[in-house]
Symmetry: D2
Subunit: 343 residues, 4 copies
């Protein structure tokens, strides 16, 4: 028997419609390096989905790459990026931001989220510190949405962060590796257009939303880096066959596919959550998105691993571990049924 | 009428067999970040094709990325990389090597090639210069094969470079973005196994050889960087769905596909060369591989561009321009027939 | 009336004996870039003072420069440096370590000190984390002695840190910008030779100990970076007139001058501490070295600033501020007498 | 008998008047990090000597440091700096510019100089190259004056370079490590004020002009980097005792001292040149400044080295070597007399 997999939202390949687009366009000769018609079409569709023409959209390959590139090309050399101490860039990207020469400035987190109050205090404190010219200047605020714990900012919370950032003239950057799951969550009170209005730069994740690879970087035009594609090349992030990204994002933003993928995974996650809940399992955090964090006894982990794959998250205590179950476009009702039998 | 395309070897998508492998494996849940079974299989097949187990193989996404990563993770901070002045890393990678903090040290080129004599003189001169501690130390030699002009090193030439490098204990690095076309050329007197024996590190190009993306980085074990995959992550070069690279390279190295792709493109290039030759066109250089460089009158360029796409290479003189026609796995007899009618 | 100054230990120029050495040697033609006889003499005297020949000594210009250089040339690219969260490198060096591409990994501090227990837990946790290959590897431990709060590690504490570091094969690096004040403190139970035995790399501060500029970087030979002086040049840290550093350090390590400077400043600090204590002032921390941290009412700060200079440290609460009074080789009994009258 | 020294212009310490200023101010308590009154005074005097208030002046420690800092803080990340292929930054600074992530773009040199024609062709060619978005953008032009060969730009030559730079909106940067010797040369037709008008950024060398260390970086205000002193700190280039630089430059720009030092060394160089000339020695180049390049038989080098120190420059042929004799503020008539006897 094959094990069912809830290990992550990137264990299977491309959503069938994305794959179909790759197949359909495979023999068309297209120009390279992101100048092809599908990339242009994807850029236009994303602008439309964001409900504004005042943005620039670029297609990149992976999440860490996109974070490092967007952060380092917007920051001045003497600036760092503020992040909740649980932020992905500060913990699980192998120091990719520091590799570009910039410091990640950690602030406290609550359920993976940064509060406007903490941000505001930090910024006020920085500029009143008489020694701040010997310190790293705060040049950007990074948040992830959904966060690393699957949680979501409310529109009010995001608006508050946006106001603080804009009053200090620093951009608010949202890491949307799993943005589609956030938008589809029942707990969400924001659309993609709201995100685009409140953030100054963000990316729309593709890899974890049904693409083989690909993230769409979005900048409000005032923050678009000069010669961005040359910088993409300089960082080794440019694909000769830029079509690979263009065709996939064009498919994801055709006929509502991106939203559908999010909706399906959220529906599966709700059912999975209910399953664990009914069986009396403890949750590490109450996540409204496609990642569910369960506290398991170490012995039970061994038992479950015979039948299902899931991810190690962190040690809870000597005898318990936090694990993650994730759903995606490829999670099926059958997967849940089998899981139910296993638990 | 659609224009036929000889613009490059990356204008079409994936070779049908590569695409088929992506389709076939699409629904299999696989672990991420290059730990999947197809990546492992591809690594083993490449080792076998190289006829040695004394190498480490890693799959990366693009050529500039692979060059920058392999160079910067092997060089010491005070070292630079020697390259023919026509080398791709020194001219058309937007300063990606310098971005990692290392200098490209240019030496003269002849038909895109570096000579062992020039290399030897440079190295001898460096170490006898009394001021060399204030200079960038030569820490690696970079060559491309085929070169940027489509030319090839002979076994004797490569052996000579290899001997010089090894006598100075610095690695010889071969950029094989188009390696398959080199190996398939009638002018080639080397196999992949010869390349693997003479070079200390090299990469086997996928993007320009029928993959959607992907390059296979190969290190002799003594040069394999410590924690290489962490450094790949740090450079933003790691794919969550590492399968995308694994599946493609597994297909390319199954049933001789990589060699077949090379052979087909070379056959097409030979015919294309004959076509131009018969019609009395002038060649910029005598290339034995899939890239052919023709000198055209500027007026004729305009005429041809109505029917066929090709690439600008460089200005020849006020009224002439060097252009490139490239063949690939997707070039057909029909393409050549149409071209023949156009010329 | 000129104001007396306790603003820092770098407000006056060179100790008279250091200045005298510069004057005495001024007309001697000496070779450049640290190859002069005074630099060599200083290096030998420092080795002797450290009681070992198994070290390499290099003279650099300033503290931030020395930290960034020593850290970045010893760390592998994928490694970061652990520091107490109050560490100078993480807060007041404008991101100089991150500029070199490395992350500062903060751990909790107590009175400016890092505990061996916290360090040990962190390291154990890192290597058992299943995702640690996506994280910054801990490659070094940074401590300052005296710390940013003027406090000192005991021999037992330093030994414990040393044991942890050596069991993980990572170097313990001690920032000794004010090392002489630490060695001279009554609270100190260590000699320079103890420091040299327990740490794997450290620097002996000159700038804050009576030199115009200069810090002596010391590496146990196993950690000496390859081609270190070339890397010093590459970082823009090499002086053409290396004699400036050589002559000063040669003077500082002649006839016990370095120890005398430390002893004088500590004696002055003890008296200053007593003064504040007698007058009922509150101390922010109990510092046994030349920096004393006092909590003042904001109104009183204004009053005192008319007569004496001292440094802003940090805000204590709405109506109080922590300030720093520092003594040095140039602090006089008269300064203290005037201070006493002011308080 | 002590050997006389013509090894370089940095073999002796500080000019007596510079040293005297350090002695006189030694006990004054001054604020740190370049905020002291002497630094301010030096900055004002330099502005006056440059005959403009539209510049910002900062004091740094050494030449390589100043080049790397000024270049890297002005260039955009995707830009490189054009330099004659003999430029110091491209050859003898250990890759310090590349360490900051930027490429040095070499153009041909004639007697160490870059021509406006070559520059103009290069820039025109760059922007018409269809692939230039994959190349390093030319973002600055670097020249040295005097050059590495002691030669000088004429006002006409510098004006021509300036016009080209300004028509492309890129700054012209002049490395003035030995600027004072250039200004004092009989071959010079420019004043410091001319330099300041024609260049967009430059530095006035101190180390080789009688200071113990120190270079004055000058930016036209439109090119002054944001938060420059924070970036100086970030590069490890800030001195706690900034007074060391301030006092020295204040002295150098008091009572015409900088010009006097230049004039003395040039007078000595003229005499030295005449000496070699009279004795029939061959010059490698006709230098009008304080560095003289002589071609010596290898055997003669050994003989001379018994009595006088000078510098190895480069190999001329199998039996001859180019050597450099340099004069400075400390060269005396006696030195020349002894040299005359030796030759």
């Amino acid at each position: 028997m094959t094990k069912i997999s809830f290990a992550s939202d990137y264990t299977t390949g491309a959503h069938p419609k994305v794959l179909e687009a790759l197949i359909r366009t495979n023999l068309e000769p297209l120009s390279g390096y992101g100048t092809d018609c599908y990339t242009k079409s994807a850029q236009e569709k994303i602008k439309k989905a964001c409900d504004t023409q005042d943005i620039d959209v670029f297609l990149l390959t992976g999440g860490t790459q996109t974070n490092a590139l967007m952060i380092s090309t917007v920051l001045a050399p003497f600036e760092g990026v503020i992040s909740a101490e649980s932020g992905h860039i500060g913990n699980h990207e192998a120091g990719a931001v520091e590799y570009t020469g910039h410091k990640v400035l950690p602030l406290p987190q609550k359920e993976g989220k940064l509060s406007a109050d903490d941000l505001s205090s930090y910024l006020a404190g920085f500029y009143t510190d008489e020694n701040h010219e010997h310190m790293v200047f705060p040049g950007m605020v990074y948040i992830s949405h959904p966060t690393e714990y699957g949680t979501l900012y409310t529109r009010e919370e995001l608006s508050a962060l946006s106001r603080v950032c804009r009053s200090y003239h620093i951009p608010l950057f949202l890491d949307g590796a799993r943005l589609g799951y956030g938008l589809a969550s029942k707990a969400s009170d924001m659309t993609l257009s709201d995100i685009a209005a409140l953030c100054d730069m963000f990316y729309i994740g593709g890899t974890k939303m049904g693409a083989l690879c690909g993230e769409a970087a979005v900048f409000h035009k005032e923050y678009t880096p000069k010669q961005f594609m040359t910088q993409v090349k300089q960082h080794g992030a440019m694909l000769a066959k830029g079509r690979l990204l263009g065709v996939q994002f064009d498919a994801l933003f055709t006929d509502n596919l991106y939203a559908e993928i999010g909706a399906h995974a959220i529906m599966m996650a709700e059912k999975l959550k209910a399953l664990f809940s009914e069986k009396g399992y403890r949750f590490f955090i109450d996540s409204p998105t496609n990642q569910q964090f369960i506290i398991l006894e170490n012995e039970e982990i061994k038992r479950l691993q015979n039948h299902v794959t899931f991810s190690y998250w962190e040690k809870a205590d000597e005898t318990h571990t936090v694990v993650r179950f994730a759903t995606s476009w490829s999670t099926t009702e059958d997967d849940l049924k089998i899981l139910s039998e296993i638990l």
